[in-house]
Structures are given as structure tokens and as C-alpha cells.
């Protein structure tokens, strides 16, 4: 009779095996979950007014800038004042209870408590105007807003997401006039579209002198 029974011969191997498996599992979990691809994508808060971008920007074909007037001039893309809604909704759905908050806001000036979906961290200085005016479409960061009833966080907006485009602007740029046309593509043929993106994209980058900014202070000031 020895101090250690026979099965303990397997113990070291078991411990090593468990640690290896556990380590792999933790690494996999961190890689998969500890990223904005998991934490941010899919965020879809309940808004105070059931405003549908799908109806307004998609089906009715309104331009993003009808409401987000400041996007070409300012670093942030503004939420419209309620008076902008009332330009149409003083006649369309004018007694609809879903729009009660909007009507009240237009009358009293009390802000509608919209919930912001895409929030960059405060240490990031993102400028909408410079992107939109150099042919980076809304869709690159916000996804197909024109197909969303409720706005959902579609892209991770992580640092690697930003850098991916900053390293290869020609792969994402488009003519400035098509920036708010979210479904636009160079061609309906995928191969041709990819080819045109390469050729025309490079031309646009050169023409608009788009810089491939990758220094830290470009975004972290």
C-alpha cells in the first residue's frame, strides 16, 4: 500500500489538460466577447418616438440631410428639431398619438429624449463633416439605416474598424454626390463593382487629396 493510489499517476496529466483547455476557452471567450463587435453591435434602444428610418429614408427616399442638416458642416450629425418633423407632420398623421411627444416638443421647445445609439468614446475625435464631404458614405459606419425600422448599432466602430478604412481609403470612398444614397454601388455586377472601386476609388482619393491618417493624434487629441 503506497501513499498515492495508482490513479494519481494520471493527476499531473489531468491538471495540465484542464489548464490547457481552460486557458484556451478563456482566450477564445475574451477574443470573441471582449470586443465592440460583441459589446456594441446589435444595440437597439427603445426610442421615445417609434420613428422609422426605413419608411422615411428608405421607402419615401428622403435624403439624410433633410433632417441631419449639420452633418456636412459640423463634427457631429445633429438630431433635427421637432419643427423639422412638423414640416410634414403638421398635415401627415397630424393627430396620431405616436407623434404626441413631437407635437409637444414643437410647441414648447422641450427636447425629445432620443436615445443615442452610436456613441464614440470621449477620447475619440470623430468629425462627420470631413468624412461625408470626402466621399465616405453614412453606410460605412452606420449600416443600412434606410432598411431599419428601429436604428441598430450595425458596425463595431472599434479602433481597428476605423484603421481598416484609414489604411485603405480607396476601398471605401465613393463620389460625394452618392454619400447619402446608402444602397448605391459602383455596379450591380459584384466583380465590376470591385474593379471600379479599386480604379475609381484611387482616382477619388487622389483628386480629393484624401490622407491616410494613421498617427495617434489624428483621432486622439
Amino acid at each position: 500500500m503506497s501513499l498515492f493510489p495508482k490513479w494519481t499517476n494520471w493527476l499531473p496529466l489531468c491538471i495540465v489538460g484542464c489548464l490547457a483547455f481552460g486557458g484556451a476557452a478563456v482566450t477564445a471567450a475574451v477574443t470573441y466577447y471582449f470586443t465592440p463587435k460583441y459589446t456594441r453591435v446589435g444595440y437597439e434602444p427603445v426610442q421615445p418616438v417609434p420613428f422609422s428610418h426605413k419608411i422615411h429614408a428608405g421607402e419615401l427616399g428622403m435624403d439624410c440631410r433633410y433632417c441631419h442638416t449639420g452633418v456636412e458642416k459640423s463634427w457631429f450629425s445633429n438630431i433635427p428639431a421637432a419643427s423639422t418633423c412638423m414640416n410634414c407632420h403638421n398635415q401627415v398623421l397630424k393627430d396620431d398619438p405616436r407623434l404626441a411627444i413631437v407635437r409637444e416638443s414643437a410647441r414648447t421647445g422641450k427636447a425629445i429624449p432620443w436615445v443615442q445609439v452610436h456613441i464614440t468614446p470621449d477620447y475619440v475625435y470623430f468629425n462627420h463633416a470631413v468624412h461625408v464631404r470626402r466621399g465616405i458614405s453614412c453606410v460605412e459606419c452606420h449600416g443600412r439605416i434606410d432598411e431599419m425600422d428601429e436604428v441598430q448599432h450595425a458596425k463595431p466602430l472599434s479602433m481597428s474598424f476605423c484603421l481598416n478604412c484609414h489604411r485603405h481609403p480607396a476601398a471605401f470612398i465613393r463620389p460625394v454626390s452618392k454619400v447619402t444614397d446608402l444602397g448605391w454601388q459602383w455596379s450591380t455586377n459584384a466583380d465590376e463593382a470591385a474593379h471600379l472601386q479599386r480604379v475609381e476609388g484611387a482616382k477619388l482619393v487622389a483628386h480629393m487629396r484624401v490622407q491616410s491618417l494613421q498617427n495617434c493624434s489624428a483621432c486622439h487629441r
Binding site: W7, W10, C14, G17, C18, F21, G22, A25, A29, Y32, Y33, P36, K37, Y38, T39, R40, V41, G42, Y43, E44, P45, V46, L60, G61, M62, D63, R65, Y66, T69, F76, N78, I79, A81, S83, T84, M86, N87, C88, N90, Q91, V92, L93, K94, G109, K110, A111, P113, Q116, P121, D122, Y123, Q152, H153, S177
Partner: protein, 217 residues
């Protein structure tokens, strides 16, 4: 060997539980994103259009103090630069010192101004008046908008540019004020483009030169 198997099953079950609770990437969530160390993410500074208890109206963005005069960004006109605070037809749509509407667009009409006007017209005017300006915008399709003006109506064709400027700025009847949405220079660009639209609508082949007529055939 049996132990190894049971341990493996327990570990796999743990993984299953984690995935079961945390789900997959891109899953719809009503809860705001988790920020583990949020002290740098959310700094104590103002961001535009956010709720803020500091100000009486509870919003971070404040309007300028009443009487604030915008000084920068003069608009280049045929008679030199005009600043936003000047009493000039550019800013008011009125002939200076009178209540008469300015007869003509004070900006030099260039191709780039017309293109700007077209782009802005398509954004702000087309939803109701239609891209052709004939009053057949998307609101017509919905059917709730009753009186959308046909911009090719003789009343509007004959209207002074200043009066159109006034209508865009302040609204008229059921039309809301677009002054807050469209900067002054863009309003004049839209008017210049509207005149082009009207010309294309009301013109006839007789307005063309002989060569252009030949090209049409």
C-alpha cells in the same frame, strides 16, 4: 479514463452555459453597451444635444444669447461680400430700406451655384414639390398633403426672387419655415436652380438656337 471524460463534459457544459448566457455577436440588445472602465470613455464634458442638468432647459446645446450677431462667413455677391448682420437683400430678400421684395437673385449665377441649388432642392424641396418642381413629391403619394404648390404655376414664375426667399425662410400657409434648415447662400442657390427648372418647363423649342434644334432631331 472515465474521469477524463466526465471532466471534459463538465468543461464543455461550462462553455455551453457561457455561450447560452452571453449569446453570439450582433445579437439585438436593448441594453446599452457595457463599458468596463468608463472613466475615460465618459469624461465630464459637454457633448452636443445631450441631457444636462446644469442648464435650465436641461440640454447641453444652448442657443446663442438673444441679439447675438453672426459676423463670420460673408456671402460673395455681385456687389461684393455681404455679412450676415447687414441689412441687405441677400439676408432679408427685401430691397434695402423698403418692404419691397428684391427682384433678382443677388448672387452671381454660375454653374457651381446651380449645381449646389439642384442638390439642395432635391434634399429640402423635392419631398413635397417633387424633383421637377411640379408639386408631385412623395407627400402627394401619401395623400395627406393637400395644397402643395406647383412651382411652375404662373404665380410663382412671376414672383420676385426676394419673395421666394421670404417663403423659404419663413414658410407660407402650411409650408414650414426652412430658414433654420437651409443657410442663406443655399436658399439663393435653390432659387437660381428653381428659375432654371421653370425655364426648362415653360420654354419651347423656339428658345433654342438652330443648331441645338437640329441636335434634338
Amino acid at each position: 479514463m472515465r474521469h477524463v471524460l466526465s471532466i471534459a463534459i463538465i468543461l464543455l457544459a461550462l462553455c455551453g452555459i457561457v455561450v447560452g448566457i452571453a449569446g453570439f455577436r450582433g445579437r439585438m440588445s436593448r441594453r446599452p453597451p457595457i463599458e468596463v472602465f468608463s472613466d475615460m470613455d465618459r469624461q465630464p464634458k459637454l457633448r452636443p444635444q445631450k441631457p444636462d442638468a446644469f442648464f435650465p432647459n436641461g440640454v447641453s446645446s444652448q442657443l446663442p444669447v438673444p441679439g447675438t450677431v453672426a459676423r463670420s462667413q460673408p456671402i460673395q455677391t455681385l456687389d461684393g461680400p455681404v455679412y450676415p448682420f447687414e441689412d441687405s437683400p441677400v439676408n432679408t430678400g427685401l430691397v434695402t430700406g423698403t418692404t419691397n421684395f428684391a427682384p433678382a437673385d443677388p448672387l452671381p449665377v454660375t454653374m457651381s451655384l446651380l449645381r449646389r441649388g439642384q442638390a439642395r432642392f432635391d434634399i429640402y424641396c423635392a419631398p413635397c414639390h417633387g424633383r421637377l418642381g411640379d408639386g408631385n413629391g412623395i407627400t402627394k403619394k401619401i395623400g395627406d398633403m393637400t395644397a402643395v404648390a406647383d412651382l411652375h404655376d404662373a404665380r410663382i414664375v412671376d414672383m420676385a426672387d426676394g419673395e421666394i426667399f421670404n417663403t423659404i425662410t419663413r414658410g407660407k400657409g402650411l409650408m414650414g419655415a426652412y430658414g433654420p434648415l437651409i443657410p442663406v447662400r443655399d436658399r439663393w442657390a435653390i432659387i437660381a436652380y428653381l428659375r432654371t427648372l421653370q425655364l426648362s418647363w415653360l420654354g419651347s423649342t423656339n428658345d433654342l438656337t438652330a443648331r441645338e434644334r437640329a441636335a434634338l432631331k
